[in-house]
């Protein structure tokens, strides 16, 4: 456990944020992708970081993450056969 970090208490003295115990990364955005569409999002300002994508609707492997340029590049592909747009939330860490 690090001795450094940011802790936040609410008005009743409960800890509501503690950077030492926080995980997941920071949200870099969220996107809806329509059936038949492919969206690529790049994060050059986050060179050396990694990406996690919460694919929160639609099944299947619709997410690929590439680091070949030295920064995260997230490609989201929704097959034309899907009925509704799929929704993704992207976190970088």
């Amino acid at each position: 456990m690090s001795d450094f970090g940011l802790m936040v208490w609410n008005s009743t003295n409960e800890v509501i944020f503690d950077s030492r115990n926080a995980q997941g990364g920071v949200c870099a955005g969220a996107v809806e992708v329509s059936p038949g569409a492919t969206t690529t999002l790049t994060y050059p300002q986050y060179a050396g970081r990694s990406a996690r994508v919460l694919q929160t609707s639609a099944a299947g492997n619709l997410v690929s993450v590439s680091y070949t340029s030295g920064y995260p590049a997230v490609t989201l592909t929704v097959p034309l056969t899907y009925v509704n747009p799929a929704y993704f939330v992207i976190f970088l860490y």
């Binding site: 456990m1 690090s2 970090g5 940011l6 936040v8 409960e14 509501i16 944020f17 503690d18 950077s19 030492r20 115990n21 926080a22 995980q23 997941g24 990364g25 920071v26 949200c27 870099a28 955005g29 969220a30 809806e32 300002q45 970081r49 996690r52 994508v53 919460l54 694919q55 929160t56 609707s57 639609a58 099944a59 299947g60 097959p79 056969t81 899907y82 009925v83 509704n84 747009p85 799929a86 929704y87 939330v89 970088l92 860490y93």
Partner: protein, 258 residues
């Protein structure tokens, strides 16, 4: 490149970044109605629960969390705007108790109550004290006085290909201190979102989560025609392999927000 503030956790993962989009707790989504999915001759028809939430503006984006409980099996069907450009979003979930689950070989026409909690990228006005971060454009990105997203645990359910060993699913222990887990489940089943017979409509069929009552998050798969060996018409090709897919879950402690 300029950064207002970045904070990493002891593992070196970024957890605060003024130039990212801070997420903040908004409240519960309202239950609208049970919604009947498009039927499919190969998989049992199952009703889902539709919730709605109106975000403060059309550019705000939601992150959906489901409150885990014992004997309440949950999955996220999909998240989408009620209509293009609308600030109102629909959240369709699957929610069943063990009685319903044990009857999963029949069409499910009822659902069990659930709590759907919503975080969003909207930055609230905030209190008169505390810390507020602004991004390089001068727009507020985080406000620590108003329920900032505090992810306690990232769970990575791995792919399970051993149908026998994982017939009843698998479990991941909650990290210490999380007493009221809410989860944001990734890569859920999404049958309702897929045209009948389309790729993806079956291999991810239906994966549901509950609190296991022993400090863990349990995942299982609903039964389908295929597993029961029933004949639902001409076999769909390719047949699903019955793997449990890899699934990413974020966990927060509901006690931080309510």
């Amino acid at each position: 490149m300029s950064h207002g503030l970045q904070i990493s956790n002891p593992s070196g993962e970024l957890v605060v970044d003024a130039d990212a989009m801070g997420m903040h707790y908004l409240g519960q989504a309202s239950f609208l109605a049970n919604t009947t999915p498009t039927n499919n001759s190969f998989v049992r028809n199952r009703v889902s629960r539709r919730y709605s939430i109106t975000l403060p503006n059309t550019s705000a984006l939601p992150l959906i969390m489901l409150k885990l409980q014992v004997d309440r099996w949950l999955a996220l069907n999909y998240v989408r705007r009620s209509s293009p450009g609308s600030a109102t979003w629909y959240v369709d979930i699957f929610s069943a108790d063990s009685t319903m689950l044990s009857n999963s070989l029949t069409d499910m026409t009822s659902t069990a109550s659930a709590e759907v909690h919503v975080f969003s990228t909207y930055v609230p006005a905030g209190a008169s004290h505390g810390m507020r971060l602004y991004n390089a454009s001068g727009d507020p990105s985080w406000d620590f006085s108003t329920g900032p997203l505090f992810v306690r645990q990232v769970m990575q359910f791995v792919e399970r290909t051993d149908r026998t060993a994982y017939r009843n699913g698998d479990t991941i222990a909650l990290s210490g201190g999380v007493s009221n887990p809410w989860i944001a489940p990734g890569r859920p089943h999404g049958r309702d979102n897929v045209a009948i017979g389309a790729t993806g409509s079956h291999e991810d069929s239906e994966y549901v989560f509950q609190a296991d009552g022993a400090g863990g998050v349990a995942r299982t798969r609903l039964l389908t025609y295929w597993e029961a060996g029933e004949v639902g018409g001409s076999p769909y090709t390719p047949q699903p392999d019955w793997a449990l897919p890899a699934q990413l879950l974020f966990v927060v402690d509901g006690g931080d927000y309510t």
